[in-house]
Amino acid sequence: MTALSHTTEVVDPVPGAGAPHLPDQPDLVQLLTPEGERVEHPDYALDVTAEELRGLYRDLVLVRRWDSEATALQRQGELGLWASLLGQEAAQVGAGRALAADDMAFPTYREHGVAWTRGVDPLHVLSLFRGVDQGGWDPVTTGFNLYTVVIGAQTLHATGYAMGMQRDGAESATLAFLGDGATSQGEVNEALIWASTFAAPVVFFCQNNQYAISAPIERQSRVPLFQRAAGFGFPGVRVDGNDVLAVLAVTRAALAAARDGQGPTFIEAFTYRMGAHTTSDDPTRYRLASELEEWKLRDPIARVKAHLSRSGIADADFFAGVEADADALAERIRSGTRELAPPAPTEIFDHVYAEMPPELARQRAEFVEYHSRFEGAGQ
């Protein structure tokens, strides 16, 4: 499959070189330039209708609005924490829209944009960050697994799930999300080995947003991440992660290859985390403002907007309509989040097992009895 061919040439690392994040990248797959110009790539033809293009733009804008609203809600004390996807909208929407209904996505904790494309209610994601539950959506019906906070663990789950699909003869694949930092974990390396050995229909989608909290990519790898795949015996490809069309095309091709029995692919979406790691993080301690300014010029939304206007696919009315939709979503998120109440405390006990053991039942009863003594105590 030529579409996913990879180079094996190793780039000479320059340890400690300043501003290493925007090198010349001959390997980068791009279909829409930062200026909004549509370009062709020999391996990745993409047919998208005007309707689809408008849809992708709408996704990007709504997902960004969800994100900024959540950041604001965290500042107001309505959420315990928020992991912002700012700057990674194209990577997530492109990858998410490449999935078929029967495919299964395995996110980390930042894939709100993918959640959006799977139809997960934003309030279910927000309830996790508010601390009222551990993720309120149904992974089975949405095809979107629960978030995984322990770095890299989900890559093995995705591989095992893919092996299950393979055994069942299902023509589906899994899409495992991971960060650049995650590639350092032993478990991720094990996932790559299993996927390769069993030709599992899994696509590893690595958002290289250049940082693992404060650690720059140079702390994790001396070769471009997509080149690692070669060592495991399957294709690796680097795509412009701020280009929703390129991400869509590359992920579609990789998922099609996986469903077709050709085994795994490693996709490195080259992108940038514009915000803090989470709302508890202070990025000014470890990165320069100039770097951020450079990346702003590659904004994933601006280029789609430019393309839509320039090619006459969308007019002012359309953009105004999307803005109105974003306002409505923001309002739903604001009021909805404030209404997310904690469940009954007995929930602590109720889903630990499919069959509750007697000792836990005893602890639950003791808990109920103890708390009943306080009821009405203050009245």
């Binding site: 996790l128 906070v149 930092g181 032993g186 478990e187 909290i213 904690p342 836990l360």
Partner: protein
Amino acid sequence: MTETLTIGKALNLGLRRAMEDDAKVVLMGEDIGRLGGVFRITDGLQKDFGEDRVVDTPLAEAGILGTAVGLAMRGYRPVCEIQFDGFVFPAVNQIVTQVAKLHARSKGRLPMPIVVRIPFGGGIGAVEHHSESPEGYFVHTAGLKVVAISSPADAYWGIQQAVAHPDPIIFLEPKRRYWDKGEVDLDGAPAPLFASRVVRGGDDVTVLAYGPMVKTALQAAEAAAEEGRSLEVVDLRTLSPLDLEPVYASVRRTGRCVVVHEAPLTLGLGAEIAARVTETCFHSLEAPVLRVGGYDTPYPPSKLEEDYLPDLDRVLDAVDRALGF
């Protein structure tokens, strides 16, 4: 010289002094360099000691502990920071199968002076895996020593003692108390590392706690005093080896004992302590040794953690029950 410090700052100063005292001390962990760690415990240390001594590692806990083993074999003293309790598990293979056993297997030829610093426990409103109490796994593993600090003075001195100690030490830092302040005598003689300590004298019930629960136990003692009950509070400080002689002495006087921890009840440290106190002080006991712990459930979402974590009411309830026998 005596200073008022937070537990976090005391750890920072203690690490600084340990590094000054011994050039073989190397700090390793995720984000501990320029960022100073997510809790800023290593703030400023990389600036002053350089990137070779304060190492920002790749995002790989097995790597942090596995390379620490090799460094220790070469005479270095690695001090590993695990970012949060829930992320120690990828490193558990190295800790349990290698770090804990190499001294014994080599008949003492391979030193393992490794410190694993872990911010542990709940109460900070975090998402999952950021609030766990994994001490039981380590206490259960022979070859490791386990310490849990609860005060700035113990933070400052304890970390230095742990770094200088020849055996591997799991060093548990109560993350929700990082910002609590207390007096630290920077020159005075420190309390021994592997000793428990009576932190409040009393006659009616002995309450044992460690790490974050020491403050809770003291609050309970305060509240109990208002009702005319006198609780003796013991800070265990060392979980492996356990130092129970002062506890036995206390229980022989009070006749009653309550053990408090955040970790789940079943096979938590309270179980071991209850067994030992019962075996040793059976004839002095007026009531069974009672335990207050977390429930045998996963740590809950943060909005329910107040329901999960032992608070002073649950300690007082256990005290009532002990006195009711």
